[in-house]
């Protein structure tokens, strides 16, 4: 049974198998109240399938998903109370106007949703075109109508699958602003997206899926911290500083470039380094932390991560072509070699 304490989304061991294809492989999700939760993964990773299961549109092969403590598979529409959104592109009746589409959906929502039609059309700026048939709408207009349809339900949980796909830059910006605004009003948002800057800007927690499995779930800040807290350092004597850094325990990837010195370490070892530099008479001009970008981490988890999980993945199976992960590893190797050559000079 649902209760006020139940999390907006709680999935346990979700599996979806289509004959031989394992689309979703034991996915666990925990979306907390107030989260703007990013659901990331490459194409075919199982994001949309997972969202469809969450909305009760497809049956899991195994596992359960609950929305505010209710199971949409077993409890049907009752489990979707307070939940709205769309998977893939929002779809409407092309032969009806936007207003008629919303009237239909409001009728299927009940609870005075009809009175909010004008309001939600205003929010998505479709009022001037409300009487036009949706069949003549652009992709962006349909996306906005999808948001309007979701808002009719006054949701506590908004599930959005690639809401910015197909929008122009201004449309994307406005969509982000709208999502941010809705989140600020207390709506929990589960946002599936390919747009890494969008997720980085909007989301506080993320799940990254790859090949049907969650490879990371947690706070975005934790992920970026785990991805390696990097630092940039400029000193009065970079050559001497680099020697000290390499001798210093707890520092990794110490290197020099035209931008200065860089290394990875935890805060405790950074403190020790600054003391060591001071004792050696090397002045610190700037010491700035640099977190890995979400894009770096995403590719590391979804491409490089494959190598870590599968020892055989480093070898090209066809003897020629490189996978994305293999290519990334090769580029990293070349870059490291180039740095070593530069330093030896």
């Amino acid at each position: 049974m649902a209760d006020e304490e139940s999390p907006p989304v709680r999935a346990r061991g979700l599996v979806k198998r289509y004959k031989e294809v394992l689309a979703v492989d034991h996915i666990d999700l925990n979306v907390h109240a107030g989260d703007v939760y990013g659901f990331l993964g490459p194409n075919g990773a199982g994001k949309t399938t997972t969202l469809r299961m969450a909305l009760g549109l497809i049956m899991p092969t195994e596992g359960t998903v609950q929305l505010f403590g209710r199971d949409p598979i077993r409890e049907g529409a009752r489990a979707l109370q307070g939940v709205a959104g769309f998977v893939e592109a929002p779809r409407f009746y092309p032969y009806l106007s936007a207003r008629k589409n919303l009237e239909l959906l409001a009728a299927l929502d009940g609870g005075g949703a009809r009175e909010r039609i004008g309001e939600v059309l205003e929010i998505v700026e479709l009022s001037p075109r409300a009487e036009h048939r949706v069949g003549g709408y652009s992709h962006g207009m349909r996306q906005r109508l999808g948001i309007a349809a979701a808002l009719l339900r006054r949701p506590r949980l908004l599930i959005l699958d690639e809401p910015a796909t197909g929008l122009d830059p201004a449309g994307m910006r406005d969509m982000r602003a709208l999502i941010r605004r809705l989140a600020d009003e207390g709506i929990t948002v589960l946002l599936s997206s390919h747009q890494l800057p969008e997720v980085q800007e909007l989301c506080d927690r993320v799940a990254i899926v790859d090949s049907g499995r969650v490879v990371y779930e947690g706070a975005l800040s934790d992920l970026r911290r785990q991805g390696g807290a990097g630092y940039r350092l400029r000193t009065t004597d970079d050559t001497r500083a680099l020697q000290i850094m390499r001798a210093q325990p707890g520092l990794d990837h110490a290197s020099s470039s035209e931008h200065g010195l860089s290394f990875q370490a935890d805060e405790q070892h950074v403190g020790a380094l600054s003391l060591a530099l001071g004792m050696a008479g090397v002045g610190i001009l700037a010491l700035t932390p640099e977190l890995a970008t979400l894009e770096d981490l995403f590719f590391r988890l979804t491409e490089g991560g494959n190598d870590a999980r599968d020892p055989a993945a480093g070898e090209s199976s066809d003897g020629g072509a490189l996978s994305g992960g293999q290519l990334g590893a090769a580029v990293s190797g070349l870059a490291a070699t180039a740095r070593a050559l530069e330093e030896s000079r």
């Binding site: 549109l57 959104g85 779809r91 009728a107 299927l108 929010i123 998505v124 969509m175």
Partner: protein, 293 residues
């Protein structure tokens, strides 16, 4: 969606106020509104309306003397306008009305699945069972409207051409014009029993095939198949239980005294087709993965 627009978001707090969920009647009303808004709907209804008009026009131009030997109503066509709707029912009941019913029944689930609108309505506050019931009822309403539209047009056109006079039944007895009118519409109502069964089969195929064309063609193909089966020698015992044989159940009403036996027979035979078809369609609809669109 400018920032300004975003700023116009509802001032009232967004929450999970417990709302009264909509009834199946609400979903049904919207299924009808969707039908009304689609051109395809009028194709079938147009056929149902225009064929009686063509028939009356053709008979008028032919300067029919009313001496056909094949059918008593055909032989009395110019003597009473009420013979026209009976003849039209006779002609249209075999193929055209099942086709018109199949046009909507075969499309009503499959089209929404293909367009992706099924997922749109299934993520609102109505249960799948309600959506299924609404769609089935809407398809049956459409079939009913097609039958009675055809009957009304045929009656009006027939009466306009040949007058509102007494009519002769299959038994050769004469019934008054008002009673004849009542019998005409009662006959059409009886014909609905097998036609709604065809509609149920259309809904089943629409639900299972997820393809409008396959469901429409499949439904019509099923009735044609039964006609062929009825012609196979050696299985005469099966014939009374074929759905297509029930298309003539209404003949019993136009006999004196009224022969109720074929009507009751068709009612339970059709139930044998309709109930499993609807139950299977319902189960499939409840359990299916909605991944279209």
């Amino acid at each position: 969606m400018s920032s300004t627009a975003v700023g116009a978001a509802p001032a009232t707090p967004i929450g999970a106020a417990r709302v009264r969920r909509p009834s199946t009647a609400t979903a049904y009303r919207w299924e009808l509104r969707k039908l009304v808004s689609q051109k395809r709907t009028y194709l079938g209804l147009g056929l149902a309306a225009i064929l009686p008009l063509i028939f009356v026009l053709a008979q008028s131009l032919r300067n029919h003397r009313g001496h056909d030997q094949g059918n008593i109503f055909a032989s009395h066509i110019t003597q009473s306008g009420l013979a026209t709707p009976v003849l039209m029912l006779l002609f249209l009941s075999v193929f055209m009305l099942p086709l018109i019913a199949a046009l909507v029944a075969g499309d009503i689930v499959a089209a929404e699945d293909g367009n992706g609108t099924l997922k749109t309505i299934l993520t609102r506050s109505v249960d799948r069972g309600q959506v299924f019931a609404a769609k089935t009822l809407a398809a049956m309403t459409y079939a009913t409207i097609a039958v009675f539209l055809s009957a009304v047009v045929a009656t009006v056109a027939g009466v306009a051409a040949w007058g509102f006079h007494h009519v002769v039944t299959f038994s050769g007895t004469v019934v008054s014009a008002p009673e004849g009118l009542l019998l005409v519409f009662a006959a059409n109502a009886c014909y609905l029993i097998p036609l709604l069964t065809v509609t149920a089969i259309g809904v089943l195929l629409s639900t299972t095939t997820r393809n409008s064309a396959a469901a429409v063609v499949g439904t019509v193909g099923f009735t044609i198949l039964l006609f062929i089966v009825a012609q196979i020698p050696g299985i005469e015992g099966l014939k009374p239980y074929l759905l297509t044989e029930q298309y003539e159940n209404w003949h019993g009403l136009l006999r004196t005294p009224t022969d109720w036996a074929p009507i009751w027979h068709s009612a339970w035979v059709c139930a044998l087709y309709m109930v499993p078809a609807l139950f299977a369609a319902y189960l499939v609809f409840l359990r299916r993965d909605v991944a279209g669109g």
